[in-house]
């Protein structure tokens, strides 16, 4: 039986960490992720976990300590946001290329400047090509469920990659909502023991990690890393299936909301998807065939599956809570359109950059986007591909 509770997103993630009981947590506080290590350190102090908690002096050190610990065979978790993630930068790549499945809760926040503590996705979107698996969660429930599943995904022998479990700062991290928790013993059983194939503390099979790797071998290692990311897709679905059997909660690479017969659809990430679902329901009441695709797994990007989900649509709007500053749309838009290219040509796809720096996204904003899509379907004409919504013009 699930445990009915009400928790903020950060509380829920800290509870997941308590239940996972990692060997090492090394963290440095930054708004809005601070509460995660804060709550977790109280579990450490109260003896509710066996974790070695390392309060480091920067996020660079946090990720370095996590890499060292994971290399030594420890299951390792940390959390950060925005500038903290940016300070981890070079270590992110090292964790991924050393194939160390460090777990990182990213509480999405605008990456300065000007300085801003509120939610958008500019932090994790910047890290989308760092070699980490990226999973996004709409609610506190999904943030909790995703972290538990992330452990199994990252540590899988076919994957061995670090995982970012991302959720929206404040909107999800600090809002209290209903949640169904899993019993401690069931989580323990689900995540199991971390049994790395190679680690530095294995005195019977000593290994070296992080050796110089030049023209002769580097490319092979990167090619193998790329394959691990491809393998991750299958593993993510297998773990989701097992999780479904445990909890009854279904997860995939993305969520399709009323997409069966949808003619117009929005593709979006994280909490805004919930607001958009409300709009879809209202539009459906009016007989509009509106649907929604909420990306859960952004890395690896589910190319074929996205194409299948959108192929019957006439017009699609991709919403990006981060700008690429490339004069050609946001990161999600780029990925969705390149997925469709040559596979489902003819669908009109437009882009909206929205909610930067925590600008609130109202149901009216999303309704306006659907109305624009309706207009495109009616006239067959796209007036503007790259758009901003919610900004003062």
């Amino acid at each position: 039986m699930a445990i009915r509770d009400r928790l903020s997103g950060n509380e829920a993630v800290a509870v997941a960490m308590r239940q996972i009981n990692p060997d090492v947590v090394a963290a440095f506080p930054i708004t809005p992720s601070t509460e995660v290590p804060q709550y977790f350190s109280s579990f450490v102090a109260d003896g509710k976990v066996d974790t070695e908690f390392v309060p480091v002096e920067s996020e660079h050190s946090a990720m370095s300590a996590c890499i060292g610990a994971q290399a030594a065979g420890a299951r390792t978790v940390t959390a950060t946001s925005a500038n903290g993630l940016a300070l981890m930068w070079e270590m992110l790549y090292i964790a991924a290329s050393l194939r160390l499945p460090v777990m990182l809760a990213v509480v999405n926040r605008a990456l300065s400047g000007p300085i801003n503590i509120h939610n958008d996705h500019s932090d994790s979107m910047g890290a989308r090509d760092s070699g980490w698996i990226q999973i996004y969660g709409e609610t506190n429930q999904e943030a909790y469920d995703n972290l538990i599943q992330a452990i199994r995904i990252g540590e899988h022998p076919d994957v061995m990659l670090p995982v970012m479990s991302c959720y929206d700062g404040f909107i999800t991290s600090h809002a209290v909502e209903n949640i169904d928790l899993i019993e401690d013993d069931k989580v323990k059983e689900f995540v199991g023991e971390y049994k790395p194939q190679y680690h530095l503390n294995d005195r019977f099979n000593p290994v070296s990690m992080g050796a110089l790797d030049l023209q002769n071998h580097y490319f092979e290692h990167k090619r193998q890393q790329a394959e691990a990311m491809r393998n991750a897709k299958k593993v993510i679905l297998e773990v989701a299936e097992e999780f479904y059997k445990l909890t009854g909660r279904k997860y995939g690479l993305f969520e399709e909301y009323k997409m069966e017969d949808a003619e117009i659809a929005v593709v979006v990430i994280n909490s805004t998807a919930g607001t958009a679902k409300y709009v879809v329901d209202r539009l459906r009441e009016k007989g509009v065939k509106a649907g929604l695709v909420k990306i859960r797994v952004y890395r690896p990007f589910p190319v074929e599956e996205i194409v299948a989900a959108l192929s019957k649509c006439k017009a699609v709007a991709v919403m990006d809570k981060a700008d690429s500053f490339n004069a050609a749309g946001g990161p999600l838009f780029t990925d969705v359109t390149s997925a469709l290219y040559g596979r489902a040509d003819g669908i009109k796809v437009i882009n909206y950059i929205y909610g930067l720096g925590g600008r609130d996204v109202k149901t009216d904003d999303i309704e306006a986007i659907y109305n624009t899509l309706l207009d495109i379907v009616k006239t067959g004409e796209v007036k503007s591909v790259y758009n901003y919504i919610g900004v003062r013009e």
Partner: protein
């Protein structure tokens, strides 16, 4: 009662409007509802106007925006009426609940022509009488329950008694005062 009840709280940093919104969420949660309780974070400090929100529903809530057309507005500090547009978007068939010693019709003059229900509660007097200190949260919470009817009053009282017993396990002497404040507030809301 519409499907989702939306409540907006106005208070000042340090007065506990955020805590009150979370307490209300808690109480509603305990009666089996789906809830959201979230503050609007900013650079606020002690004394600065702050806003907090609740959504309460029998069904799962998916909207994650702020609340622009609340069913109820709660004003924890009446001096805010001079500086904050507290009735912005407030539904006419809803109500505003203000912490003041004044009568509803007197305070209505400050509400920019709001035509809906105006309720008042003298949370200061109740708090000082029952708790010997000024904690407007407890009486305001009861007033919201009374005016909105989001949960059964008896169930609310019972639930609060349990949660106070838990919360104040180390200082049981304050439980009675808090319970008294709740019960008095339920009786003393004006403008219903």
């Amino acid at each position: 009662m519409s499907k989702v009840v939306e409540i907006r709280w106005h208070g000042r940093g340090g007065q506990g409007a955020k805590t009150a919104s979370l307490l209300l969420a808690d109480a509603a949660f305990n009666t089996g509802k789906y809830i959201q309780g979230f503050p609007e974070y900013g650079p606020e400090r002690m004394g600065a106007p702050i806003t907090a929100y609740n959504r309460i529903s029998d069904e799962k809530i998916t909207v994650h925006s702020n609340i622009y057309e609340p069913d109820y507005v709660v004003v924890v500090d009446e001096t805010l009426l001079n500086s904050v547009d507290v009735t912005a978007g407030l539904k006419e068939d809803g109500a505003i609940i203000i912490n003041t010693a004044k009568e509803p019709e007197e305070i209505r003059k400050k509400l920019k022509g709001y035509k809906g229900k105006v309720c008042t509660i003298d949370a200061r007097t109740i708090s000082i009488d029952c708790l010997k200190r000024y904690f407007p949260n407890t009486p305001m919470l009861a007033a919201v329950v009374k005016v909105s009817g989001i949960m059964d009053e008896e169930e609310f009282i019972k639930d609060m008694e349990e949660s106070f017993a838990h919360k104040f396990a180390s200082k049981p002497q304050v439980i009675e005062g808090n319970m008294q404040a709740l019960k008095r507030a339920l009786m003393e809301v004006k403008g219903l």
